[in-house]
Symmetry: C2
Subunit: 402 residues, 2 copies
DNA sequence: ACTATTTCGTCATGGCGGTTTACAAATTAG
DNA sequence: CTAATTTGTAAACCGCCATGACGAAATAGT
């Protein structure tokens, strides 16, 4: 029963809808949902002027959305302006919810987000998953999922879809994990393991983090490069408000960009890949540390304490990141680079050398580098919100399933 | 009078059209044009089944396109199939034409392409333009343009737009050349210099070359990386059948991707940029040659003769290209890499080391590298065809101008 | 307090676009 | 020569949005 959510989450409302009158209607319904969702409570008239339709047309659209339970009438607004006050519309806090899940190296998490974007339920379970087989891990995830779904149902929500963030490469079918080095999973189709009766999507953790940044970050542009790191270093390329997936779904493998063509060998077969300089393992080694749990926290702690070895290791990692990012920036000309995931916590010590390297190597104004506010929350929120966006992108599709 | 052609040539038909009934109509007109253009002569019924409309609907669409002179009725087709034969429709060979122009380092060229994709007129003028001011060069280009337009008019064609390919960075407004090192142009707006009474677009030569590959190449995928080189090394990133422009329009600057972080200094401010290893100047120097004209031809000639110095220089350049492309391929996961422009002619000596490097550094199946058939013709054809595509993408817009 | 003005939401009407249904025309199969 | 099949078109219909008019509900002015 696991139908794919529309793959490669389209940027705008309803990209794939047919070019017929019904398709037009569905696109307009989506535009209403997006407008109300983005611009807060709005009257029908305000929505109409936002999207360029007449009040009459918006009325019929809103009626349909209210009947479907996707919009709610909040009642008359009381503005100081002249004229009859409008009736405020808001996205419904009941009805469909986006379920996000995350399989991390040392934790599992599930959450439910309503159409308003609020997290209404969540469950987390800590514990190292490194090297565990997929089945028991997913078994535990399902337990969390059950709890979240139960609580969501008590709040009047029903699941519109499930998106799972995984620390590894995911095939374009958005179902099978091709390679997850931290977990030691290879070519495992999560579809059969997660028998849910709503659409399932599996995606790369870094990609979901980037989407969270795009949708939840403040002032985030529509074209940027989102860099995050767990063990591998993943980048997500966001172009015109949409993710760049690549042919096989493997785009964004920043970790294996050559930084020093005759540097140390890398398991990927190359030499001097970024991961050999800025990967978690490499940085720990350079700092003279060893640990099996919360390695990022360890690094951040030592660096904050003033440990010169750790700081040097992070400086060098920043320089290597700067070299790799110079290539990426030259190739993509993004509006900015955002450091997310584990890198966000280490930013204070990475940024100076990273920016110095990037500035030095770029002619003209350098590409600004910023740090994500979301940090480690990004992937989970991005996953849940991807489902919410899918609902906003095609409201009738979910209304039919209600 | 120079209105911008729709910027950032959209992939599909009429992306920017409003979501109204007229917009729907225009999109369907575009779909008919695209189908007839791509699938050769087709009956109304065949078009209908291709795009999923009814025969009746297609009939009215075709009527309108024929009245506008964009489609032609070729007469009844004689198939061996049962049933009444359809009336073959073809894109008109008269009416609107796309005008392409190219400002090269040592030549100027202009051509006119009809909606069928045939080159109906062309004019070329050889002569070094290096270091000449924009005004006299454009003056000469206008002379060629006048000749091409005159011949096109004799053939019953009228210009639907002009696209100019320039060897340099072009701003997002598609009018001003920000930097063209070979010509020594900086921040020159070609709009005032080219006062034509139809839409004008200025674009990067490498980008137009990539578009030519996309539209004219056989078996070219919708996601690929097109690498070309004149003096600088430009790459064009094609994603889902559309060019990736970047925020400022500077995407694809492969020449300044770091290949050896502490290599020789580069005018861009960096060190060890690809251009320092695989740029024209660098290769000539490594080969111990010097020349002011047709430097690529010189290299190819010597390499073909068996000159070991030249071959070694090209091998090394290929290796450097391989390193830079490894980074790009990891980041973008394209379906293939295409070598175009000057690189196409040098491919026999570049490819082996390039592919070896790329294979070695990539885990799993390597990204296939191919060579463009179009070679130096690419940019000019791509420019002209970009105008033709714009007409196919929104037929009514040009019909109104007829 | 009362009227004029402004804005909101809705209804009836109409135009536009594609579908459905029906039919004549043109070909092949038997 | 008839039956079957396919094409192109015309007429009626339906869905969707625009237009214009109206009542409702607020403010502004006298």
């Amino acid at each position: 029963m696991t139908a794919p959510l529309h793959e490669a989450h389209p940027a705008g409302p309803g990209r794939a809808l047919p070019n017929t009158q019904q398709g037009m209607r569905r696109r307009n319904l989506a535009r209403v949902m997006h407008t109300v969702s983005a611009e807060g409570p709005l009257s029908r008239a305000a929505v109409a002027s936002h999207i360029g339709l007449t009040r009459a047309a918006v009325s019929t659209l809103v009626d349909e959305l209210i009947r479907s339970g996707l919009l709610e009438e909040l009642g008359p607004e009381r503005p100081g302006r002249v004229g009859r006050p409008g009736s405020a519309l808001a996205v419904s806090g009941h009805g469909p919810a986006g379920i996000g899940a995350e399989v991390g190296v040392d934790h599992l998490a599930v959450c439910a987000v309503d159409l308003r974007g609020e997290v209404r339920s969540r469950a987390v379970r800590h514990g190292a998953n490194r090297g565990r087989a997929p089945e028991p891990v997913i078994e535990e995830l399902i337990e969390l999922l059950r709890r979240v779904l139960a609580e969501a149902e008590r709040e009047g929500l029903w699941p519109a879809g499930l998106a799972v963030a995984v620390p590894g490469l995911v095939a374009r079918d958005a179902r099978t994990v091709v390679r997850a080095p931290n977990l030691d999973w290879r070519d495992t189709d999560l579809g059969p393991l997660l028998p849910v009766d709503f659409p399932l999507t599996v995606g790369n953790e870094a990609n979901f983090g980037a989407l969270a940044e795009l949708w939840l970050g403040e002032g985030t542009p529509r074209d940027f490069l989102h860099v995050s790191a767990e063990i591998g270093i993943g980048a997500a390329v966001v172009v015109d408000g949409g993710l760049l997936h690549g042919t096989r779904g493997f785009a964004g493998e920043l970790g294996h960009v050559p930084v020093q063509p005759d540097g140390p060998e890398c398991p990927c077969g190359g030499r001097g890949c970024l991961e050999q300089y800025a990967g978690e393992e490499a940085v720990l080694r350079a700092a003279g540390l060893e640990s099996d749990e919360d390695r990022v926290g360890l690094l951040a702690g030592r660096a904050a304490e003033g440990d010169e070895d750790v700081r040097r290791a992070l400086r060098d990692a920043g320089t290597a990141l700067g070299v790799a990012l110079t290539g990426a920036v030259n190739l993509l000309d993004p509006e900015s680079v955002v450091l997310g995931g584990a890198l966000a916590g280490l930013a204070p010590w990475l940024l100076p050398s990273l920016e110095a390297e990037l500035d030095r190597r770029t002619a003209g104004p350098a590409c600004p580098v910023s740090v994500s506010r979301l940090g480690p929350e990004g992937p989970l929120l991005g996953a849940a919100h991807s489902v919410v966006r899918a609902v906003l992108d095609d409201p009738v599709a979910v209304a039919e399933r209600a």
